[in-house]
Symmetry: C2
DNA sequence: TTGTAGGCGTTATCAA
DNA sequence: TTGATAACGCCTACAA
């Protein structure tokens, strides 16, 4: 079929093992035979068979990517392409390939992970999410299989290598930004409150209010999913408050939601930022394409991915690496959805 | 290390080959031993090793995904997540996994493909693009390696299995839609004119003009890349035309570009659709999130992906399948960026 | 119906 | 510095 190490060996008049050593660039092979073997390889158009190599080595140079619950939804999230870019870059630098776990629901994905792991298809795994009570996480820990998480583990963060933003600080900074331009009635519009990110950003929000001596009103806190329509109901409810209680600014924990919010506001005939300011999170590609362009907390999604695959490869190659937490910095990109409050 | 077929064999008091046959559910194995073996498997927590199986079978159950030139840019394209979803679904139905070719430039990707293919990492490949003079395409054809293309091959479409929209028809329909609501000066804002899609949609546009007896003005045709800022210059140039020559409608071949166009127009103080109508292509997620929501030609991106992986698997499993062209239907989603022309 | 043995293409150990 | 040879875990004639 394909040209193998044996064919090369014959052509070069050496043993297969010698060819193997040439491939590995083993220093104890004479330059002369190296050259000879390499010539033969070129002539025959030899390429090593990864599968055979994997079997012999017990290592595949492949990283598995695990998406949360339903991949479908996750793929839609503008977070995904960018984090994938980062993962890709980190993997590519070390000659690793990326493989996706396929599946439409949690059960599917769980089985996919088990197959990947036990089937020896991948050397390690990146979890692209963090959630409470995760079977996959427990499974990987039990088997002591190398993995890295993007986001903050719900528990035992010190025994799980993970890369994450300081989301408390990010929530704090965003809120302080609004306070700094004069806002006092600030509402928090967050995603699924089972996600650690949401909880943390909310915490930062509260801290900033406290520090500024502003009251925290639970009714100023709404949780919606990250999906598109999410925002609508939440916003309407807030905007129906009497004028002197209505928030003058919104902190929205996801750009996609912000888009929804923007549309809802426009339907309610409210102008951003004149009537109400918005600060958003993630700073994905289209944050600057909306009208008005969104002030958003850039969380360096690319770097999140890049660090994740780099760290994972480190773990795979040195199984005794201690667990790390990598904190990726964030910074606010001020655009045109925020403005000094009108008194 | 891990539990293998041999361990199971011992535990069940049979030969390894018997275990192997049980896994394959070979009918010539007695029910009794099947049960016995399966029990042993469960007890030991056996999972077949994919790598070993791949080596023995010469088949990996993995599909390689090849992105155009720079993956980075492609990942950003909102086309990508949806097509990936489709690919994922098609692959998952047949228990195939997806692997990405990593690389940042054409050279990188080419090498990645060669490694994947010669390295026996994948059973087949999906090309997520179609372009002129493609090394990767030639390479795959030369080696007679199973692949499927999304988009229309630049040449020899009858000897390449591909899944695509009828883009000429789509361009035609979109243009006719505008003509149908009274527009006569319609400009074509297209992406990279080396891409087959662009060329075809342009062709459809011309045909529709012709059919309606409207003149085709080359200056009404602008080509920009699919990138965000793309639109700006092109649009300004058009809008600087004297009022009675200025187009009243734009046909923009990509939603992302449309977003850019929308912003540019808003900077020029032109209102959509009152001052100018826009019909867009692809109908990606955020088409309805823009302001105004875009009238867009839905090209069924999901199905494009789904068909691609399904077809590929068919080819992989029956090497003698004849080449197909799968045409995925499109339809216009009318939203609020198009309006009857003001006379 | 089941077992034996060789092979898939590498790598790694041990001799030479 | 190189060559035999035995793994790696599974599949599949061929034999029994």
């Amino acid at each position: 079929m394909s040209v193998t190490i044996k064919d090369v060996a014959k052509a070069a008049n050496v043993a297969p093992s010698t060819v193997s050593r040439v491939i590995a660039n083993n220093p104890r092979i004479s330059e002369r035979t190296k050259v000879k073997v390499r010539e033969a390889m070129d002539q025959l158009g030899y390429h090593p068979n990864f599968i055979a190599r994997s079997l012999a080595n017990q290592s595949t140079q492949v990283i598995g990517l695990v998406t949360p619950g339903s991949s479908d939804v996750f793929f839609q999230n503008p977070f995904f392409p960018t984090v994938l870019r980062g993962l890709n870059e980190g993997a590519h630098e070390h000659q690793y390939a990326l493989q996706l776990v396929t599946g439409k629901n949690e059960e599917d994905i769980y089985n996919g992970v088990v197959q990947m792991v036990q089937g020896g298809r991948v050397d390690g795994v990146v979890l692209l999410y963090s959630k409470v009570e995760d079977r996959i996480l427990s499974y990987l820990q039990e088997r002591n299989f190398p993995f890295v998480m993007i986001g903050k583990p719900y528990k035992m963060p010190e025994s799980i290598t993970h890369v994450d933003n300081d989301n408390i600080q990010a929530g704090f900074d965003a809120t302080e930004f609004l306070i700094g331009i004069g806002h006092e009635r600030i509402a928090f519009v967050g995603g699924d409150n089972k996600l650690v990110v949401t909880v943390e950003r909310l915490e930062g929000y509260k801290e900033a209010l406290k520090k500024a001596g502003l009251p925290y009103h639970p009714r100023y806190t709404v949780h919606e999913t990250f999906l598109l329509e999410g925002g609508k109901d939440a916003i309407c409810a807030l905007m129906e408050l009497p004028e002197n209680e209505r928030p003058t600014a919104l902190l929205v924990t996801d750009d996609l939601m912000s888009l929804g919010v923007l549309n809802t506001l426009s339907e309610l005939d409210m102008t951003v930022p004149e009537d109400i300011s918005i600060i958003s999170f993630n700073n994905v590609l289209f944050s600057e394409m909306s009208r008005p362009p969104l002030t958003s907390v850039d969380i360096n999604i690319f770097q999140l991915g890049y660090e994740a695959s780099s760290q994972l490869i480190k773990r795979v190659e040195h199984k005794d690496e201690p667990h790390h937490r990598i904190t990726v910095p964030h910074h606010i990109i001020a655009r045109f959805s925020t403005e000094y409050v009108k008194k």
